[in-house]
Symmetry: C2
Subunit: 310 residues, 2 copies
């Protein structure tokens, strides 16, 4: 259903054994990338999901480690044969950054559309990528304007065939009703509510880096199936450093995961000095048991909950 | 004396097993980097020669694969504690490119000095990095303006102590004379010629990518101790493709090495499609026997010729 891949787990600078933090989400063969630091195109190549179907690239903020891979990636996507436009989404400043970095990509075989979202409009912004497939954002607290992202796949309510048969709705209209469309047959009007059951839980993937654990995050990530969150430092003793640099320690990310009642937490964006993040995993596990230390190209497939479990 | 490292061997895009082509030259602990594609900072990190003493970065041209690593590298050099200025050298357009890419590096802890050389001034330009240590350039033939580079370390003529003693020059002035300075002692003037022997051969490293094998290259690389040259394609059958894309095949690079009477040739800047460059090594060896297929971080130490061999 939704495939998620954590492309890298580093912060600040790419390292020989650790790519910079970026997340790839695949749905129905199309892809959303969040963040694109130096080397992201290489770990993408290692993953092997292809370049041509990257439709959207979101940026949390414009520090180098989250954006310098953009021109190279766009060139490589260009070499993949893509001609359809690509959409870039990010906080105010996107145009300036894309124009600046674009000095080395003067001729791309596709258009680049920009959706620049100001900090005060971010909370109310909901961008529909495909039908029922959305990107939402929340301003968080870093040294410059920075957004957390939520990628959400809505689930259609259950279709009740017995109801449709009772109303004598011809079967070839069922799909329209299931998709939420109103159908007119002869003089009769049928609305989705007539044949659909209750709302059903969709899928949510939340991504937050770089930030302090601000209060709004709890609601933003609430009930997410996967929460990918920065943990720049693992050691509790680095909390002051985290506060100063506007990052988080593992236990703060875990606290968010717990309060937000997410299903699973992946830690990422490790400081280059944090060579063995696993050493500090317990600091998170003590608070939120379903925590994983992110690894380059850690992948997960998310599916809707089985009907009989609802 | 001079340490040379080929940091990467790829062209067009960085690959999981091949960094983009760039050359590092170290002399007396200071460093010159030529080209800086995406990921160059990672192979630099793997090499382990440090970031803080990179004083000069030269660009052959401004295609993405030669320049997109610049902002990330500058940030990493900044994190290394460097505060001394860095000099960037390249063809006209350097300022525009550096300003564009610099959109993500607004605050570096050092100044960046630019030496932008126009195509018509390139041949006569000789930039002294340290005393007797020079960078020269030659416009070559690519799809956009592109320079080949020559890094040259001059060797002082041999000092003849017998001559200095005969002239009663106090010993603490010998070094000045050896360095080419004129010395005045009381009323007497001593010039270097009075105590120095004949000119001696220094060291030369030539670097050419991306280009067709233009006529001027033969003289430019003449007698180089090492010639690092692109070989985008290995197969003779790709010659038309090379002509069209303004690149070289292995045999063309070897022909240049032979005509330029260089000591050693390293091939680099392989097309992503050329997964096994060694398959085509014979195409170069047939023409120039001291050819090596470049490998990431292939390193060589160059020294002045032993005196007794002159």
């Amino acid at each position: 259903m939704l495939d998620v891949c954590l492309l890298g787990t580093g912060g600040m600078m790419p390292l020989p054994n650790r790519w910079l933090t970026a997340l790839l989400i695949r749905y129905q063969g199309r892809k959303i990338l969040i963040d694109c630091g130096e080397g992201t195109q290489i770990t993408l190549k290692m993953l092997g999901w292809g370049f041509k179907t990257i439709d959207v690239i979101c940026f949390t903020h414009y520090h180098g480690d989250h954006v310098t891979g953009l021109p190279g990636l766009l060139l490589t996507i260009g070499n993949s044969g893509r001609t359809e436009p690509i959409t870039l989404i990010g906080p105010t400043g996107l145009k300036k950054v894309v124009e600046g970095l674009g000095v080395v990509t003067p001729e791309l075989p596709f258009d680049v559309n920009l959706i620049e979202v100001s900090e005060d409009k971010a909370k109310e912004t909901k961008i529909e990528i495909n039908k029922g497939f959305f990107i939402k954002m929340l301003p968080v607290e870093h040294r410059i304007t920075c957004f957390a992202y939520l990628v959400e796949l809505e689930r259609l309510p259950k279709f009740i065939p017995e109801q449709a048969m009772k109303l004598n709705i011809p079967q070839h209209f069922w799909k329209n009703l299931q998709q939420g469309e109103t159908v007119k047959i002869m003089d009769k009007i049928y609305t989705p509510e007539m044949v659909l059951g209750e709302k059903r839980k969709g899928l949510k993937v939340a991504y937050c880096t770089d930030s302090r654990p601000v209060a709004g995050l709890k609601g933003f990530i609430f009930d997410a199936d996967l929460f990918v969150c920065e943990g720049m430092y693992g050691d509790e003793e680095d909390k002051d450093q985290a506060k100063k640099k506007k990052h988080m320690i593992f236990s703060e990310a875990a606290e968010l995961a717990k309060e937000g009642r997410v299903k699973e937490l992946w830690l990422t964006h490790f400081s280059p000095a944090l060579t063995e993040p696993k050493t500090f995993l317990n600091n998170a596990l003590d608070i939120f048991s379903n925590t994983k230390i992110g690894e380059d190209r850690l992948t997960k497939n998310l599916n809707f909950i089985e009907e009989n479990l609802i």
